[in-house]
């Protein structure tokens, strides 16, 4: 039995008025969430492409040019992160965290990979966050910062910042280990026998770090530990193989061997 009067009254009802406000509040939130998801997807894609680009360093003579190119790509990503920061201005970042965590993790993976290649160290959360300070209002349009890391957080205007949270940092670093493993195998294939040993040292440190954290971290980290352990095993196996085969040449012969080998490969110089 439809009561028309009641319906008619509804428009003036305080309850309805309140719900109209709720409707707006909820829609605004959903819309923001959706925009963040889309930016996050863009970040993921561009970060992944940066990682592919960086893998070329093991097969290409001019490492520096690839690093430069990756700087440009990562700057684009950082502009996207600035968009996230813009959306989150004045918000509780944990409220929308689920919308952009995937993209941020992928960015951590890409930027820490670049950092490792450049400095052979693990980038810290502070360093990552330091490069996510954006000068006010120029966020989207300015694209001139192709330097190492955005130098100064602008002068007067209060800067827009984005803070990667520790668990996203951890998850990004966990994925980094997979890329480092790929880099290690690739190095062996390209005849570079130093990088694998360096990488195994480094990966062992990261592995020990994660096992020190153990199951006290977020659940997603524990899930990645198995893959991390496998990556480490692959790297350790590669170093083992290099050592074993290296054992077959008497040390005084080494120089000869490489000399003759380079000759054989019609190359003038080798990076032993």
């Amino acid at each position: 039995v439809q009561d028309l009067d009641t319906s008619a009254n509804l428009s003036s009802s305080p309850v309805i008025a309140a719900f109209k406000v709720f409707q707006q509040e909820l829609d605004t939130k959903h819309d923001k969430h959706e925009r963040l998801v889309k930016i996050s997807r863009d970040i993921t894609i561009e970060s992944k492409r940066t990682i592919f680009l960086l893998h070329r360093v093991t097969s290409v003579p001019d490492v520096e040019s690839i690093l430069k190119e990756s700087d440009v790509k990562l700057d684009v990503v950082r502009q996207k992160i600035a968009q996230i920061a813009e959306e989150l201005r004045g918000e509780d970042i944990y409220q929308f965290h689920r919308a952009f965590t995937a993209g941020i993790q992928e960015y951590v993976e890409a930027v820490s990979f670049q950092h490792y290649i450049r400095h052979r160290t693990l980038i810290s959360l502070e360093e990552i966050n330091a490069s996510l300070v954006f000068p006010k209002t120029e966020t989207v349009d300015s694209k001139e910062s192709t330097g190492d890391t955005p130098a100064a957080p602008a002068e007067a205007a209060p800067a827009l910042t984005f803070q990667v949270i520790p668990s996203d940092y951890l998850l990004g670093v966990a994925d980094l280990t997979g890329e480092l493993m790929r880099m290690c195998i690739g190095s062996v294939g390209n005849g570079d026998i130093d990088t694998p040993f360096q990488l195994s040292q480094f990966l062992r440190q990261v592995h020990d770090g994660f096992s020190y954290i153990g199951n006290t971290g977020p659940y997603e980290v524990s899930k990645k530990l198995h893959t991390l352990r496998q990556s480490l095993a692959k790297v350790e196996d590669a170093c083992y193989a290099l050592r074993v085969r290296g054992s077959e040449i008497p040390k005084h012969m080494l120089a000869d061997v490489f000399a003759s080998r380079d000759a054989m490969m019609d190359a003038d110089e080798g990076v032993a």
């Binding site: 309850v15 309140a18 109209k20 959903h30 409220q95 020990d208 954290i213």
Partner: protein, 227 residues
């Protein structure tokens, strides 16, 4: 900073996080205890004898909300105010229960929908996120929906207790609520699921009203309740 130091740093952060959560859990347990006690007081309205005592029971419940507010005040001290959503999962359940209880007390007292502001005040928290520990829209609405289901039960039991006027008033109230909810675009989340239940509450109350009407039982002097 070495890798080891970096992980030690992070481990520090994680430990601190766990400690905060542990602290929160303890206060939340007290809140749950209080919520169950308020509920027990209010449950008596479903008893045949409970109807006359509604004002007393409401007064008693109001009093008990003091304890709730004390615990809430303590809860706020356990974590930085701007990280509400980081720890939200811990108190979401009890917060919705408390919103329900506050709305229910309010309804029993005045037969109107208690606003989000009023509910927040009864519980002792804010409405606006920027001001700290607040009552989010979703949590408020979830509480209101729990109340709707309690009201459908109340409609049934008030007939048993011989109060034939109340179901019709509940019916009008719930219908208005339902119209309100129809304005919302809900995601496929727990709130949506709860809202789907509202239809059954509306239906149940409609059936009670129907049962009364075909028996001519709803014609008692009700002018006073017309709201």
């Amino acid at each position: 900073m070495s890798v080891t130091e970096m992980f030690a740093d992070i481990q520090g952060f994680l430990s601190a996080d766990q400690d905060i959560r542990e602290d929160i859990r303890k206060v939340v347990q007290l809140l749950e205890q209080s919520a169950r006690e308020v509920l027990t007081v209010l449950q008596s309205v479903h008893q045949p004898t409970g109807f006359k005592e509604i004002p007393t029971k409401c007064a008693k419940a109001r009093e008990m909300f003091c304890t709730v507010r004390t615990h809430m005040a303590e809860l706020r001290t356990k974590f930085p105010a701007e990280q509400y959503y980081r720890f939200q999962e811990h108190w979401r359940f009890v917060l919705q229960r408390l919103a329900f209880l506050a709305a229910f007390v309010g309804y029993l007292e005045s037969e109107t929908l208690v606003t989000r502001e009023q509910v927040a005040k009864i519980i002792g928290i804010e409405v606006v996120r920027e001001e700290g520990f607040h009552l989010g829209v979703e949590d408020y609405l979830a509480g209101v929906l729990i109340m709707a289901s309690e009201l459908s039960r109340l409609a049934v039991n008030s007939v048993t207790a011989g109060d034939y006027g109340r179901p019709l008033r509940i019916s009008n109230f719930i219908n208005e609520l339902d119209s309100g909810f129809r304005l919302l675009n809900l995601k496929n989340d727990p709130l949506r699921k709860r809202y789907d239940g509202l239809k059954y509450d509306v239906k149940k109350i409609e059936e009670v009203v129907y049962d009364l009407s075909i028996r001519g039982l709803s014609k008692e002097p009700e002018a006073a309740v017309d709201k």
